[in-house]
Amino acid sequence: MATQSSRSAARLMMAPAVILLLGWMLVPLLMTLWFSFRAYLPLRGGDQGFVGFDNYVRFVTSSAFWPSIVTTLAIVVGALAICIIFGVLLAILLDQQMWGQGVVRILIIAPFFVMPTVSALVWKNIFMDPVNGLFAHLWRFFGADPIIWLSDIPVASIILIVSWQWLPFATLILLTAIQSLDTEQLEAAEMDGAPVLKRFWFIVLPHLGRAITIVILIQTIFLLSIFAEIFVTTGGAFGTRTLTYLIFQRVLESQNVGLGSAGGVYAIILANIVAIFLMRIVGKNLDA
């Protein structure tokens, strides 16, 4: 049993981390809230006072808002779909017996460790460049006209880059889940003559349900806030402006802090909706 003194010692030991995170959360959050209700343009007149919900209304009624929501959703949903579908397939593949499994695992995980600015820049220039890119060479080899990736299909291009970065993470989590699958159950089903697809659909997929949910929630939070991939490739042009990027432009590029802060509050609310579901799963697991 913990004694009284060890309890107060425990509280003391927790204090630095708790206080720091509390400050890190509250101070900027309150400042964002404060700015969001003010007309604040640091380079054009400074703080011009309280404007109520003006910024909130102007942010959602600006012509850039809905396109940014559509782009954000397209990137999140597109990248998630690719990561889940290929992640499940890769996890099943890696779970099979083979030679050199460790090396293959490393090859597949590697993209996760590449810093976002590097992968964005390498994909943009070395692969997607319409003149000298590797894809352009490949297209010309087959007699086709090269695609101008980042201006013809910019959102799809960014989905491709982001998926490449996040597929390893999804694969690893799904592989961990698959390895905890009871193989006897699968063998029994095989003996009873259940075909591969049925075994996958009725045994493997339900077992992966929880892991898939977790991949969706965690990756959604990260995908909602991707920044460097857009900053380096298109700079928000060609319809690749996500909500995150739109807020960044309002705040730092056009220095309309009030408007950007209102956008920031929307982004925080959006992320929190996803976070609540994730926390519930994590919280349940803590009790177990």
Binding site: R7, V27, W99, P116, I126, F127, S225, F231, G264, A267
Partner: protein, 276 residues
């Protein structure tokens, strides 16, 4: 007979898995190869794969022209400093939550996690403003603090899950033998916790190294780490693939090597114990 079938299946699996693995790894492989080509070979059509005149010239040019070493040192200081500072703050917190849990422990853990979910862009201006006011803009110290705060929840969580695996009876036994809190932590807990702490440091060093929102927005000439160094190569002007590849290779090589050691911790660290 059965063995032959298994081996045949194994061979097919091996073939498919290697093909897929190499396909996914290809962009990295190609970047590394390109970094050893001349600029003309780097864009030649058809592309040359292995049979070109290998050269180290690009690496020399990158170092000379943009002072790679300075960015490397910034990256090491920022990622290393934030990770070590974060770990020092997190160890006591995680220790007390794992061994002296109270009713509120779970809530505190979940709350810490929730701070990690805050979208950075939502608090970009306040942090930017505070940094200007405090004179921290474009300083290594400021970046160490911000990245420490960003990764602190993950560090606490990882350490907590590792510490929880240490049997509490051992601590009680030490207490019975008269060990005080300090000795308990120093001589009983620490040796058992070292592997967990090492893994935590490793993964968070990688996360801090690759962080590309705050490092891009809060640094300029002085404190810019490798993420910003690479972003400065995004000019669209022609013949620079080989140099871009050399710079990229230098930016990711240290982390790729560390990453191989940390792949097992990745799942634990980023799913907060929700997947085991």
């Amino acid at each position: 007979m059965a063995c032959a079938v298994t081996n045949q299946r194994k061979a097919v699996n091996t073939l498919i898995a290697w093909a897929v693995g190499l396909l996914i790894f290809f962009p990295i492989l190609w970047t590394i190869l390109t970094s050893f080509k001349t600029e003309a070979q780097a864009i030649s059509d058809p592309p040359v794969f292995l049979f070109f005149d290998w050269t180290l010239e690009n690496y020399a040019v990158v170092q000379e022209r943009s002072d790679y070493l300075r960015y490397l040192i910034n990256s090491v200081i920022i990622a290393g400093g934030s990770t070590i500072l974060g770990t020092l703050i997190a160890i006591p917190a995680a220790w007390s939550m794992a061994f002296v849990p109270s009713k509120r422990t779970k809530d505190i853990l979940l709350w810490m996690l929730s701070t990690k979910m805050l979208p950075a862009v939502g608090v970009l201006y306040p942090i930017y403003l505070l940094f200007i006011q405090l004179g921290l803009l474009d300083s290594r110290f400021g970046m160490v603090i911000v990245l420490m705060l960003i990764n602190l929840p993950i560090i606490v969580w990882m350490l907590y899950t590792y510490f929880r695996e240490i049997p509490g009876e051992i601590l009680e036994a030490a207490r019975m033998d008269g060990a005080n809190l300090r000795n308990e932590i120093l001589y009983v807990l620490t040796p058992m916790a070292v592997p967990g702490i090492a893994s935590t440091i490793l993964l968070n060093f990688i996360l801090a190294w690759n962080e590309a929102f705050w490092t891009l927005n809060l640094t300029a000439a002085q404190a810019a780490p490798l993420t910003a160094f690479i972003a400065s190569y995004s000019s669209p002007e022609g013949l620079f693939y080989a140099k871009l590849s050399a710079a990229s290779t230098m930016a990711i090589a240290p982390i790729l090597i560390l990453g191989w050691f940390s792949q097992k911790q990745l799942v634990r660290g980023l799913t907060f114990g929700a997947v085991k």
